[in-house]
Symmetry: none
Subunit: 85 residues, 4 copies
């Protein structure tokens, strides 16, 4: 941590910059969450069951993760067996 000579051995400007970068990113995330919400609201307006919709999205996500994980497991077991028994 670069110490610029302030009262507490802390680079205040640096710290401030870090915190603000984080907060800016989190603001953007929050906004995008609102966007997601909007899409669901819109879908609801079109007659969709949002609960089921969320389930579908969640399942697709899980399936993708599952695929990735399955390969991991294969790799893990393969290496545990010393790359072929």
């Amino acid at each position: 941590m670069a110490d610029i000579g302030d009262n507490s051995g802390l680079a205040v400007a640096e710290l401030r910059q870090i915190v603000e970068r984080i907060e800016r990113l989190e603001d953007e995330i929050a906004n995008q969450r609102l966007d997601v919400k909007e899409v669901y609201a819109e879908a609801k307006g079109l007659g969709y069951d949002t609960k089921a919709l969320r389930k579908v999205v969640a399942m697709r996500k899980k399936d993708a993760q599952k695929l990735a994980e399955e390969q991991e497991v294969i790799d893990l077991y393969a290496s545990a067996l010393g790359v072929f028994g």
Copy 2:
């Protein structure tokens, strides 16, 4: 939902579009979360205590009033227990 009963038609495309919009937004959110993580890692590299950093960021999110009110209850309970006897 455009049609029930002729579910081989337009509604499928509509549904697909909705799901994809959601998924695209969520991908972006996931990426930005990685960015946040990166900033914390960078801060750590500069010597900051990331745990404290996270706490400060969280505190800034809450307004001071609410923070004080919550702390009051905690203090009440704590002192009732004999200051951690």
Copy 3:
């Protein structure tokens, strides 16, 4: 909250009892975690790859959850369709 007349409008004995019940339960949980740890250590001593072992346990858990969830999804969709389209 029964107010017995202490200085802060708080039933101190009651609070203390609640906190101690929680802490006792959490102690037991902590001990059982140690037991789990011990089993893994023991398995490691027998030559097992604990990482793979953990994966197996996790997968069995996920499968059990998956079964439960699948029925949920079926129910959800069925009700979304008005119990049959």
Copy 4:
């Protein structure tokens, strides 16, 4: 691990036993977690602020020294940021 190469024999039973011991312990842990939840729910019914309650329990888990040290860093950062400017 009793045997590699004759993996149709004893090792399978051994492995099964290990996994089941772990799963049994984890079931118990899950149940006790439900018990904890119940106590909090009960406390809520008595008028307690469960969020504050959880904080107090967490504070009691940490020793006071460590708690003070952590708070120092947080305060340092907070004041460096101008007390939430």
